[in-house]
């Protein structure tokens, strides 16, 4: 087990800078998820930690030891690939024992370690099979087994669940989490799926265009997004943003309608802002609140207990989630925006205007 320090790391491909000085401190035993849309540099960063990509600038330290110039083999990390990258010509046992075989460990020890990992992952029955005879979930487990066998200081996961179907993904997610709880190994996990990030992470690192946008615990990031990007990226369906203008009394939107914010973010008058509100925080219905606004419903999508409504509020597109109720598209229903669930962002910089 080990800590990982990433200090002002940059990556260039030719003249193109794809990581603009990323710094993250990862504590011993922590489960950190790097999350962001594709092309944000999260996989590149992971591959730099692994040693598969060179570090153009900055330092990476594992347990206090500078590893910039160490080959992957000397860093003692294990990586699970999105494609699993199982060796097709080796059995499950050979796949899992390959690293020990390369390290010239005695056969008895290899057997023992492979058995231990197989037990943890419930793979004992498959040790003599070839990867092509396994299902997706089993392959995924073998890939994890290959990592566990080595007793590495750090586990690296590169979108390990994205090739699985939705049901299996949820199951493997839970297994991953319990695995981390049992082994306690420092883990760095890359995904573009915010649900995965929320459920797995001790701390998540939200990235965009080669920059870190926010680092924090999932609930902290969810409740206190640092900027409009993070607010829109974390949470599903994404937060609604309503363009408006800050005034003395509140936020003016649409045709001069005024939304009271109770000082959610007091700011200079006439500053262009976005008012953010999560779909679940929009209160739909006649008894919704003291001040109601007309919401023109255009699309009704029942999901079971709840209904997802898409339509126009102040002439802007908005999604609301509400407990199952009878609404038809084309109807206009009253909604309220509770001041305590509102976020305010600068429309130019996207920065959060913090509550007072």
């Amino acid at each position: 087990m080990a800590s990982v320090e990433i200090g002002s790391v940059k990556k260039y491909y030719g003249d193109i800078e794809v990581l603009h000085g990323v710094s993250i401190d990862i504590a011993d035993g922590e489960f950190v998820v790097l999350v962001g849309p594709s092309g944000c540099g999260k996989s590149t960063l992971l591959r730099m930690i692994a040693g598969l990509e060179e570090i153009s600038e900055g330092d990476i330290l594992i347990n206090g030891l500078l590893v910039n110039d160490l080959p992957p083999k000397k860093r003692n990390l294990a990586m699970v690939f999105q494609s699993y990258a199982l060796y097709p010509h080796m059995t499950v046992a050979e796949n899992m024992g390959f690293s020990l075989r390369l390290a010239k460990q005695p056969k008895k020890l290899i057997d023992q370690e492979v058995r231990r990992a197989a037990e943890i992952l419930d793979l004992q029955a498959y040790l003599d099979r070839y990867p092509r005879h396994l299902s997706g979930g089993q392959r995924q487990r073998v890939a994890m087994g290959r990592a566990i066998v080595r007793n590495p200081k750090v586990f690296l996961f590169d979108e390990p669940l994205s090739n699985l179907d939705a049901k299996l993904r949820g199951q493997m997610r839970a297994e991953l989490k319990s695995l981390h709880q049992r082994l306690g190994t420092t883990t760095i996990y890359v995904t573009h799926d915010q649900t995965e990030a929320m459920t797995l992470a001790d701390r998540m690192v939200v990235m965009k265009d080669g920059n870190v946008e926010q680092i924090g615990s999932p609930m902290d990031v969810f409740r206190n997004p640092a900027n409009q990007f993070v607010a829109g990226f974390i949470g599903s369906p994404p937060m609604n943003f309503i363009a408006g203008k800050a005034t003395e009394e509140g936020i003016s939107v649409g045709d001069g309608e005024m939304i009271a914010t109770d000082g959610v973010g007091r700011t200079t008058s006439d500053r262009p802002v976005y008012l953010g509100v999560r779909p679940k925080h929009l209160l739909v219905g006649s008894s919704a609140g003291p001040v109601n606004f007309p919401f023109h419903v255009e699309l009704v999508e029942p999901t079971g207990d709840e209904v997802e409504l898409t339509g126009r509020l102040f002439g802007q597109r908005v999604t609301a989630i509400t407990p199952a109720m009878y609404v038809r598209s084309g109807e206009t229903v009253p909604v309220a925006l509770p001041p305590q669930s509102l976020f305010l962002f600068d429309r130019v910089s996207g920065e959060r205007i913090a509550p007072l």
Binding site: L52, K73, L77, S83, A85, Y87, F98, S99, L102
Partner: protein, 276 residues
């Protein structure tokens, strides 16, 4: 789908016709090799003779060092195959695993070399080999054959190596393997059908090559089979049955190799086409 008897019959007829066209020369070669020389030019020709015997083979072994030719061919074709496959797999690995800026140019150059008629290079190659005093040596033949076999071998192996995911190399590296170990333990085993196909093709081409050993060997003890067989065509008379007997001997290894490795070859041919 059930095919009608008419279609099935037609299919068999077409297959059979094709088979006859392909196999008749081989049959005729064996037939001629077994006939006594007096019957070779009989008209009408005989397709089967009670006088069939192995006399031509015995005569051949007395008149020519066929065993020596055979050995020469084996050494040259074997050496060419080993050298070409080893060099080609390194080259193909490098080209598919590392960013090479001039890769398209290299691939084009490989094709271009393949397009040159061999005869064009006879004089320069002869001069080159003569200058370094390497005429009549196995090494010079192996090197020259390899120079012709390599472009095609590399070209084919690039196709095979490309479909092996690079994630596997990286998984190997993360597991603690060196580049050479990933090459040897991960990539090569997966490319085996391709390696076998390339090795077979290289061996057969070298085995049948005539021009270069004709030019580069002057000492009869260094003749390879095709050149040795050609010497059986004398100035005044040709012992056709002995010539054919020599040809029969020459195709034995080819047949043997095909029989043993046929399933790899088929796998190799299809592996390139559809992602394997």
């Amino acid at each position: 789908m059930q095919e009608s008897p008419g279609i099935r019959l037609l299919r068999w007829i077409v297959l059979f016709a094709a088979l006859i066209i392909m196999l008749f020369p081989i049959y005729w070669m064996v037939n001629t090799a077994l006939k006594p020389s007096t019957q070779v030019f009989e008209s009408p020709p005989t397709f089967f003779s009670t006088a069939w015997s192995l006399d031509a083979f015995f005569a051949l072994f007395e008149s020519r060092p066929i065993g020596r030719y055979f050995l020469n061919s084996l050494v040259v074709a074997g050496g060419t195959t080993v050298l070409s496959v080893v060099l080609a797999s390194f080259a193909a690995y490098g080209l598919t695993r590392f960013p090479v800026r001039i890769e398209p140019l290299i691939i084009l150059a490989l094709l271009f070399i393949k397009m040159l008629p061999e005869a064009l290079l006879v004089v320069p190659f002869y001069q080159l080999i003569a200058d370094v005093r390497m005429l009549n040596s196995y090494l010079s033949l192996v090197l020259v054959y390899s120079s012709f076999a390599l472009p095609f071998a590399i070209w084919m192996l690039i196709g095979f190596f490309r479909v092996i995911p690079r994630d596997l190399d990286e998984a190997g590296i993360m597991d603690g393997a060196s580049r050479l170990q990933t090459f040897w333990l991960v990539v090569l085993p997966l490319a085996r059908p391709g390696l076998v196909a390339v090795a077979m093709f290289t061996f057969l081409t070298a085995w049948n090559a005539y021009l270069w050993s004709l030019v580069l060997t002057t000492d009869p003890s260094m003749y390879v089979l095709p050149v040795g067989i050609a010497t059986l065509k004398g100035e005044y008379q040709v012992h056709w049955n002995e010539l054919m007997a020599a040809a029969v001997i020459a195709i034995v290894p080819v047949l043997a190799i095909y029989t043993v490795l046929e399933r790899y070859l088929v796998a190799g041919i299809t592996a390139g086409a559809v992602k394997g």
